[in-house]
């Protein structure tokens, strides 16, 4: 509870544009923001840009944060929305880079549960941008297909197709990654 109180105190000072509190908040949530951004972006540079853009929005809108709600969730929503903006900008180049279907040996089909959480990220990053974004928004953020369609400027049926393709591709890709990572 004491740390929660310390967080609210930092947020309160951030509202008053206190530079040291901003720095404290930045360093406290930088890792969390970067891990979210890395899931949506192909490379670290793009992820850093998303993190910077996201923190600008956090600091300029921190007065709107409702202290009765979780700061972590509010913060996460901002980073995800910033990442979506980034995806939209990059989507024109990425939407057509769809890798060929992968052929997976049957004896490698049950290795998914053995992969670590960090390995999961690497596999997700290898999905085409549109499929990756739809997968993350639908399965981890809880958006509906209509909402995703609205955010990504695609139709809801396309969103469903992208999700189905993403899941299929992930099922195919995990055993290959397991081979690479675990010999």
């Amino acid at each position: 509870m004491e740390d929660r109180g310390a967080l609210f105190e930092t947020i309160r000072k951030c509202r008053h544009k206190d530079r040291k509190s901003e720095e404290l908040l930045y360093k406290q949530f930088f890792g969390y923001a970067l891990s979210i951004a890395l899931a949506y972006c192909v490379n670290r540079e793009d992820a850093m840009e998303v993190v910077h853009d996201g923190f600008i929005k956090v600091f300029s809108n921190i007065a709107r944060y409702d202290p009765s709600k979780s700061f972590r969730n509010w913060f996460r929503a901002i980073i995800v929305n910033t990442a979506i903006d980034h995806v939209r900008r990059e989507s024109k180049e990425e939407f057509f880079k769809i890798p060929d279907a992968l052929q997976v040996p049957d004896d490698k089909a049950n290795v998914i549960s053995d992969l670590t959480v960090d390995e999961i990220l690497k596999v997700i990053q290898h999905l085409p941008m549109n499929e990756r974004t739809v997968f993350l928004l639908y399965e981890t953020e809880g958006f509906s297909h209509e909402e995703i369609a609205n955010k990504l400027n695609v139709t809801s049926s396309s969103s469903r197709v992208y999700l189905a393709r993403a899941k299929k591709r992930l099922r195919e890709m995990f055993p290959i990654f397991f081979d690479i990572q675990h010999g």
């Binding site: 930088f30 890792g31 969390y32 910077h52 923190f55 709600k69 900008r89 089909a109 981890t140 899941k167």
Partner: protein
């Protein structure tokens, strides 16, 4: 393990990653962020100042023109020079043309007669109050704190939360509640934004958007067309999801020229040209017929009111005259008849804001809006402005066409 089970494992691991994983802090990230923020801020400030400077310059220009003393733009009345241009000569020795009285050809009131002749032959409304006839061809921009700069390792999240897993569970529950509440609100909002066919429409934009316009235009008074530019500031005010009203202030440079045969006796041709600057105050209503987040299409229609800041007209008329010369050679008198081409040019100007034409033009426009980023859009709008009445001091009906390029924010 079947496909559904595999999917569930993957999804669970992805959720675990996003919920719990935290990357280590990168040294210098805060300093990079400060620099990044500073650059963004500077860019925003430059944009704001640029817009403000442009608006101030426009306002200054209008004010200057409005309060310019009348005497500076006016010159003494009614001088028309007629430089004779000889293009053809015909000599008929010993022949007199009985249909042209000699007295009229050499009469001292010849220039006065020519003036009457010119005024009679004009195809535009004569100059009224305040307008004067003037002379020809007048060119007119780390504090070191050990506590703060110390890297925060991935475990610091747990350190911050003394209640450990309990706190995380609380957060997850809160998050689920927030998501549920947000879903409810969004569902309600979605219902409001369904079109009659039940199709979802995109989320709303700003209530008022300011636009900076520049447009190459083509003006046409009769058969001839002239190229010019217009530009200014507009405001798009959203009425409903699809309807919006556009108004603003646009400075427009108008040029036109027309020429036609001179049908008077011995006339050649008449040409009339104008160079004007007007303030266009449009009042348009637009209908956006697509609602995509990035690109939208719309049509706009309405009327414009015009106030003229400067008006300069030039009229040129050419005709021929027969001039008689009498000479003596060898004691015999010869009468020579010479056809002389004459040209008269007159220039007129009107006082600033002397002419205001409410709803003087009909505006028709189609447009495409391309979002550049979350706050800025670029518009391309081909348009046609049709005159509803004669405008300017000479009541000219000018049709204007062009493509308007607009940045709105």
């Amino acid at each position: 393990m079947d496909n559904v089970e595999k999917d569930n494992v993957i999804i669970q691991k992805a959720r675990d990653y996003l919920d719990n994983r935290s990357q280590p802090y990168i040294e210098g990230a805060w300093e990079d962020f400060v620099e990044f923020r500073r650059k963004r801020k500077r860019r925003r400030i430059c944009l704001k100042y640029g817009i403000g400077a442009a608006a101030c310059l426009s306002a200054l220009f209008i004010t200057f023109r409005a309060f310019q003393p009348e005497g500076e733009s006016f010159q003494p009345d009614g001088e028309t020079t007629i430089p004779p241009v000889i293009t053809e000569s015909h000599i008929s020795p010993g022949t007199a043309r009985p249909d042209i009285p000699l007295a009229e050809l050499y009469a001292p009131e010849k220039h006065a007669a020519t003036q009457r002749y010119l005024n009679k032959g004009r195809d535009f409304v004569p100059t009224t109050r305040g307008a004067k006839i003037v002379d020809v061809a007048d060119p007119l921009a780390k504090k070191d704190n050990p506590q703060l700069t110390k890297p925060i390792d991935p475990g610091s999240e747990e350190e911050l939360d003394r209640n450990g897993k309990e706190e995380m569970r609380t957060e997850k529950t809160e998050r689920k509640d927030v998501l549920k509440e947000r879903d409810k609100l969004k569902e309600q909002e979605r219902e409001n934004w369904k079109d009659p066919s039940g199709r979802m429409l995109a989320t709303s934009d700003d209530k008022v958007r300011i636009g900076l316009n520049i447009s190459p235009t083509v003006h046409s008074a009769t058969s001839n067309a002239a190229f010019a530019f217009s530009g200014g500031i507009t405001a798009d005010i959203k009425l409903t999801r699809s309807l919006f009203v556009t108004t603003g202030l646009l400075a427009e440079h108008q040029q036109f020229s027309s020429s036609r045969p001179n049908r008077e006796f011995m006339g050649i041709d008449k040409s009339f040209s104008g160079d004007m600057v007007s303030i266009d105050i449009p009042l348009n209503i637009g209908w956006k017929f697509t609602h995509h987040p990035n690109r939208n299409y719309y049509i706009v229609g309405g009327v414009s009111s015009l106030a003229y800041v400067s008006e300069n007209y030039q009229s040129t008329e050419r005709w021929q005259e027969v001039v008689e010369h009498v000479r003596e050679s060898g004691g015999e008198e010869f009468v020579e008849y010479e056809v002389v081409t004459r040209e008269a040019t007159s220039t007129e100007s009107a006082a600033p804001f002397q002419n205001f034409h409410p709803f003087g033009r009909l505006n028709l426009m189609v447009g495409v809006e391309q979002k550049i980023n979350s706050g800025v859009s670029f518009h391309v709008e081909p348009y046609l402005k049709i005159p509803l009445s004669g405008v300017g001091d000479e009541a000219i009906r000018i049709t204007t066409g062009g493509v308007n390029f607009k940045v709105s924010f």
